[in-house]
Symmetry: C2
Subunit: 362 residues, 2 copies
């Protein structure tokens, strides 16, 4: 994801010109793009990232099976062009409503469901090689951040260390943020907002000279991109703190390797250097959390079986050890179980100790 | 909710002294409190708030049916006392783990499920007359705010108008925030973070001299309390912007009248002056949204039937009109449907027009 402002405009123009040329030559307008979908998703061992394979697909305007999708893609491109021109951004839902209309003299709508416009946006991502944020389509906003970092955003200078108990609210799109000062040794990312509030109240980021960041549950694109930019532009290690359960492992996995549904973005959104900090199976013994294990339910067990067979986990000894431990314990454990040892045990003991020992899983 | 720091400490001390006296006199230790639960929830027409009735309940230590709950309430009180002493706050999940342990020489745990410690915290709220935030137990954190407001929080001076595209991340507990400067005519609260980002990008709060605030879905306690404090301390009107559907109406209802599950807090969390701004049934015609209606599903219909019979909606003509329209249309409509009229139609036309005309539902 380059930050050059003009690239999206150029790419959209290029697409328009291509089609214009085809039409001028009396050809059937055609879009060519890399096939999405599971059959063309591969794990790139070199890039350490899920990405699309080489299978291509074409779509023609004069083809009954293609015409509607062709139109949807161009409608979305047109909305994107206007957004870029006006310097505005739309949510995926906005984009849906913006292209939703009945085609004159027909009873056919351009789109009936948001899933159609979402797919059209993904098509446009694949065709132009741009991320949807660059096309001015935003995903959901969530999450907070604190640390000794000063940024410049929309003309405001914002000091992440001076925002009281709330912190800075991470926007859905962080492409235009400029980092003015980054005074941190690492980033700690956690899946739970309540844990973030715990660490923030303990001034963990100040004592440990780090950045603390969190959303709630699955990591938003805004957060993933913010983590990635800080990692790349400031060479900061990132440690991920989740529950000891398949869902927590998957949160880590998505940040590090990407996800099947976003494989078309390849390494644009992945951060191969992130490390898993905890909670690990060993932590349960080391920090006396045995009494606070929670029995795995059927959903947990099924998810665990899926995840442990993912290519990037399958041949990884340390991860297979985690799955074995989880299977043997037949249980999961939450980050907050550490509170049983004292409300600030996580800040005073658990995290500093593990980070000092470099007790990570890669 | 008074902000005096000593009150919670005093109330907990009072509770301890009471029990100590009873024990000293050789009595069976007893806790008396107002009964929670549906049978004792009433809608107070004067206060315009759901609250508990007069039914009382007692709980004794030497009573097999009471002993465990008695213990849980005292354990939670003890955790609260320590948190206050240390100046720290715990999430509900933290509190659960803090009191979760096996009673020595038995196989009984103080608590097995978080629902037990949650209820014990509610007991303590009823007994002490304090909100859980004052007892240093925090609910979930979510949401963002922007506007011409300067606050003081944890020693930081924070200007809500200078926080770039993200805004200030609203903490779970806003009791200790001080408002230094409030330069706004009203507050616009919306259920969707994506709509907040739309208005923020359009600098709506600057153009309209207002505060924009949002969580995602149900309003967090932190946000409700922040709205309430701004309403009471700075006399600001609050307008609520939700979808035209039963779920949106309920979001408004909870902010205004409270909820059954939090009836024990009475008017501590309710804001009787808030007004519903939209989306209304009339808006659908006025702003040409007919093409963007979404058919009500069974869940929607059932929820609508429940809500329209709530005491505070039943005798309200304007609200019954909304329910009739929804029934007739057999459909709901989303805020983002306004994007079909242009991406900034909501900021440039819909909101200013409705607010100018004072087109609210009370």
């Amino acid at each position: 994801m380059k930050k050059k402002q003009d690239k999206p405009k150029e790419e959209l123009k290029k697409l328009g010109k291509q089609l214009f040329c085809q039409i001028n030559k009396g050809k059937n307008p055609e879009l060519t793009f890399t096939l999405r979908g599971l059959s063309n998703v591969i794990f790139d061992h070199k890039l350490k990232s899920l990405r699309l394979g080489d299978k291509k697909s074409t779509r023609n305007f004069f083809n009954l099976a293609h015409a509607k999708k062709f139109l949807q893609t161009l409608e979305v491109a047109s909305v994107s062009k206007n957004l870029i021109k006006e310097g505005k951004h739309a949510s995926l839902r906005d984009a849906f409503y913006q292209i939703k209309r009945t085609i004159p003299n027909t009873k056919t709508n351009v789109v009936d469901e948001q899933s159609e416009s979402d797919k059209a946006i993904e098509d446009l991502e694949v065709i132009t090689g741009l991320a949807r944020e660059q096309l001015h389509f935003n995903a959901n906003k969530n999450g907070s951040v604190a640390g000794k970092v000063v940024i410049l955003d929309k003309g405001d200078t914002i000091d992440w260390s001076k925002l009281g108990s709330g912190g800075w609210s991470v926007p859905s799109n962080v492409e235009d943020i400029k980092f003015k000062k980054v005074n941190a040794k690492y980033i700690l990312y956690m899946e739970k907002a309540a844990v973030w509030e715990r660490l923030h109240e303990d001034k963990f980021w100040d004592k440990q000279k780090c950045i603390i960041m969190s959303s709630q549950g699955q990591t938003t694109r805004g957060i993933r991109r913010l983590l990635q930019r800080l990692s790349e532009e400031h060479n900061l290690p990132i440690y991920v703190l989740t529950d000891f359960d398949p869902w927590g492992f998957y949160i880590y996995s998505v940040i590090k390797y990407g996800s099947i549904s976003l494989a078309h973005l390849g390494s644009k959104m992945t951060i191969p250097t992130v490390k898993f900090l905890g909670i690990t199976g060993q932590d349960i013994e080391n920090y006396k959390l045995e009494k606070h294990l929670i029995k795995l339910n059927d959903k947990d067990v099924n998810r665990m079986k899926q995840i442990m067979n993912y290519e990037w986990f399958k041949d990884n000894k340390k991860w297979q050890e985690q799955f074995k431990l989880m299977k043997r314990l037949k249980a999961k454990a939450e980050i907050q179980a550490l509170s049983s040892r004292g409300i600030s045990f996580i800040s005073d003991k658990y995290l500093p100790e593990k980070i000092n020992k470099k007790d990570f899983i890669d």
